[in-house]
């Protein structure tokens, strides 16, 4: 059992002592074990909140007792046109065990609609500029029966490049024009089915981003908005959220939206890997054996097999809350519950922050975490997992663990290759990249065709991913990566490379001083650090 060296630790944090066990870090599709220096603070996720006993019942209860509007059955009339939009493959992460919460919610919603005589129903995946889901992914999300009944004519993905399929909703007082999916906009009722995993999701972002076109994203998917967000995981201090809310008011004025938001707990590991969420000092013999076996097996497999191993392990998430009704009151409740699960109080900033980068991000489900996506995980999401103050101080050091392989899935991320290999050698300046290249990538006919007719992210998507790291890049003094299999990917990202975590910490200390406070963020599951 580790001795708590520095005063009373916060719940969810431990301090490393001389007899502490090595800590386990994700490093892409492998696991690292590292002994951290004595005094290192390790921040752990909260334990999973117990799920509701009956998910169907919880969703039904929310729909029948909505916030800020009439119950759903009272809003229905025979012959009306209804569209049910839902989050795409990026949520939850990793994909959850069947039944997916989308299926559960639809099993509640569809009979209510049928009973009211509503038969003009379309199911719409709100994938925005993300890749369209494959048929098997779509089947998995809603279950075989619903898929059979609706796919493909009445269950399909949003197409942000279909000129006939979009309609202008209006322009905000700030000049931000919003265009949305025509079917959703021209429906008598738009039901949005959200899965809230992190606090930047949901609320007005669901419709205004999930169902919009490239031009409508540009006002907030840009570097200055990210710089003005402190952080984008904290909606109260996020310029991104504020802009989505402005656009959301246009939606509220023009459309009848009934929002259904669900919150999942953080039980993301299946039982055989559940030890990865534990404090290593609490490992029993079985946990240690499982860790050794997993490391041995993974280290001997090629990358593709390791990837397949992790991607075949769905998460046993449980529903811990559901609210329905008007977007804003619903989202307020959702956020509160979300923070209840994810927020961990942390006393003070650190000088050096360590985090392992896992194999998955919202943008590479069933695909490869390419170098640009590794970047969005580091100075992007991992840096932004805070409220109040960043977990690492200004000018501090972020140490990441990832192989940084130069691998791209050209079916999913065709424009990422050109972005990484042609643009980044020229400049890493997000404003310059936006100014000079973003629009040409967005209009590139190959990328438009790959997005529309294949399963590719939109041509402009790697730019957004680069902007996502802008506040982290500006804030941090140095980013060091451990476990990189080559030197040029880290170099191109503007990072330094270390052979081991010990060396990375030494490099970090030489940058911020020998008395540096070192903190490790032990994730996944996700932690939002409430930094006092």
């Amino acid at each position: 059992m580790s001795v708590r060296l520095r005063g009373r630790p916060d719940a969810g944090t431990v301090f490393i002592d001389t007899d502490s066990a090595p800590r386990v870090l994700h490093c892409g599709e492998s696991l690292l074990e590292a002994r951290l220096p004595v005094g290192t603070r390790v921040v752990y996720p909260r334990p999973p909140i117990a799920p509701v006993s009956d998910a169907h019942e919880a969703i039904r209860e929310a729909i029948e007792n909505p916030l800020g509007c009439d119950p759903l059955p009272a809003q229905l009339r025979p012959g009306m046109r209804v569209t049910i939009a839902m989050d795409d493959i990026s949520l939850p992460l990793p994909p959850m065990e069947r039944p997916d919460v989308r299926q559960t919610a639809l099993e509640v919603l569809l009979p209510i609609l049928a009973e009211a005589g509503v038969d003009d129903i379309h199911l719409l995946v709100a994938n925005s500029l993300h890749r369209k889901m494959t048929e098997s992914e779509m089947r998995r999300a809603v279950g075989d029966d619903i898929h059979r009944e609706f796919y493909p004519d009445r269950y399909y993905c949003h197409d942000a490049e279909d000129p006939q399929g979009l309609v202008t909703i209006g322009t905000t007082p700030h000049g931000e024009r919003l265009r949305l999916n025509r079917r959703a906009s021209e429906s008598d009722l738009l039901i949005y089915l959200n899965i809230n995993l992190v606090p930047m999701d949901g609320g007005h972002k669901s419709v205004t981003v999930g169902l919009c076109d490239y031009e409508s994203l540009r006002p907030h998917h840009e570097p200055q908005t990210i710089l003005d967000s402190d952080s984008y995981m904290d909606p109260a201090r996020s310029a991104l959220s504020r802009k989505c809310e402005r656009m959301g008011r246009l939606v509220d004025a023009a459309l009848n939206v009934f929002h259904v938001e669900t919150v999942l707990n953080n039980r993301m590991y299946p039982p055989e890997l559940a030890f990865l969420a534990k404090n290593e000092d609490d490992f029993d013999d079985r946990d240690r054996l499982k860790l050794r076996a997993a490391r041995l097996a993974l280290d001997r497999l090629p990358w593709s097999a390791r990837r397949a191993f992790f991607q075949r392990l769905p998460a046993p998430y449980g529903l811990i809350g559901c609210w329905a009704g008007r977007t804003e009151p619903v989202h307020e409740r959702t956020l509160a519950r979300c923070f209840e699960q994810y927020a961990v109080a942390v006393e003070g900033q650190c000088d050096v922050l360590i985090a392992g980068v896992p194999y998955i991000s919202p943008y590479n489900v069933n695909s490869i975490l390419n170098p640009v996506l590794v970047q969005v995980m580091g100075p992007g999401y991992l840096f932004n997992l805070y409220r109040g103050r960043p977990l690492v101080r200004r000018g501090g050091v972020l140490i990441l663990a990832h192989p940084c392989y130069d691998a791209f899935d050209t079916a999913s991320h065709p424009s990422y290759v050109e972005f990484f290999h042609r643009l980044l050698p020229e400049t890493r300046d997000a404003f310059e990249l936006r100014e000079r290249y973003e629009e040409s990538f967005a209009r590139d006919p190959r990328y438009v065709a790959a997005y529309r007719h294949g399963h590719a992210y939109h041509g402009a998507h790697p730019f957004f991913m680069w902007y996502w790291g802008e506040n982290g890049r500006r804030h941090l003094g140095k980013i060091i990566v451990v476990g990189a299999e080559n030197g040029y990917v880290p170099e191109r990202l503007g990072w330094e490379r270390a052979a081991s975590l010990e060396e990375a910490i030494a490099m970090g200390r030489s940058h911020v001083g020998r008395s540096a406070e070192v903190t490790m963020l032990h994730l996944p599951p996700i932690v939002i650090a409430d930094v006092a």
């Binding site: 791209f408 050209t410 079916a411 065709p414 424009s415 290759v417 290999h421 042609r422 643009l423 020229e426 000079r436 290249y437 209009r443 590139d444 006919p445 190959r446 990328y447 438009v448 065709a449 790959a450 529309r452 007719h453 294949g454 590719a456």
Partner: protein
């Protein structure tokens, strides 16, 4: 600097790329529509019998394929070839056009790119397609004619493999276009030179060989219907 590149063009292969058909469909169409029932039956039978030969020749090289393949057009008149080209478009090529092809060309044109077809088919056969899809230019094979009849040979250079790349390079130079900002779309490993000569190559419904190259090179891959 990428931003300093001049205007470019989009170069498209035809068979297997923009249309689902290939040269053999064109040959069979002309054979089926030869003058008189007997001639038509005879030419169709000969053409069908020649299909294994085409496959064998293509395994040797695209050049060998062309030499064998275009012999089957020997004796057809230029007028007949031209006349039947309109029906070829309506009955064979247009129905086989990939539904996304016209949109790809349209978006490409909207980007200010010159639209150019580069094909191993012969010019008379693809003239209606060039017109209907609004191509600005076309680099195609030309049948050698003597006394108004096809001799069964092509006028050199034969448009295949590296010759397509050479044609594109010469075209770009003549027209003052930047190859670095140009696009090429093709489906077959035999079109690798054509794809390699431009800055923005794209594999469309690629064969196994091209798929492997595209994966290694990080080229975009389009799967059109």
């Amino acid at each position: 600097m990428i931003g300093a590149l001049g205007p470019g063009a989009a170069f498209y292969d035809l068979d297997g790329t923009l249309v689902r058909t290939n040269l053999v469909h064109v040959l069979l169409f002309y054979a089926r529509n030869d003058r008189g029932l007997l001639k038509s039956l005879q030419r169709t039978a000969v053409s069908v019998a020649g299909i294994p030969l085409f496959f064998a020749a293509e395994r040797v090289s695209r050049q060998a394929f062309n030499e064998v393949f275009f012999r089957f057009f020997r004796g057809l008149t230029a007028d007949r070839l031209r006349l039947l080209a309109e029906e070829l478009w309506e009955q064979v090529l247009e129905p086989a056009l990939r539904p996304e092809a016209a949109e790809l060309i349209e978006r490409s044109r909207a980007q200010g790119l010159r639209q150019v077809l580069v094909t191993g088919a012969f010019d008379l056969a693809v003239a209606p397609l060039v017109r209907e899809l609004g191509f600005d230019d076309c680099g195609a094979n030309r049948l050698d004619l003597a006394d108004g009849r096809a001799t069964g040979h092509l006028v050199p250079p034969v448009m295949a493999g590296a010759a397509k790349a050479g044609w594109i390079r010469a075209y770009a130079e003549r027209e003052g276009l930047s190859l670095g900002s140009s696009y090429a779309y093709a489906d077959s490993l035999s079109d690798l030179p054509m794809l390699s000569v431009v800055g923005r190559p794209t594999a469309v419904n690629p064969d196994a060989g091209l798929r492997r190259v595209a994966r290694e090179q990080g080229w975009p891959v389009l799967w059109l219907s």
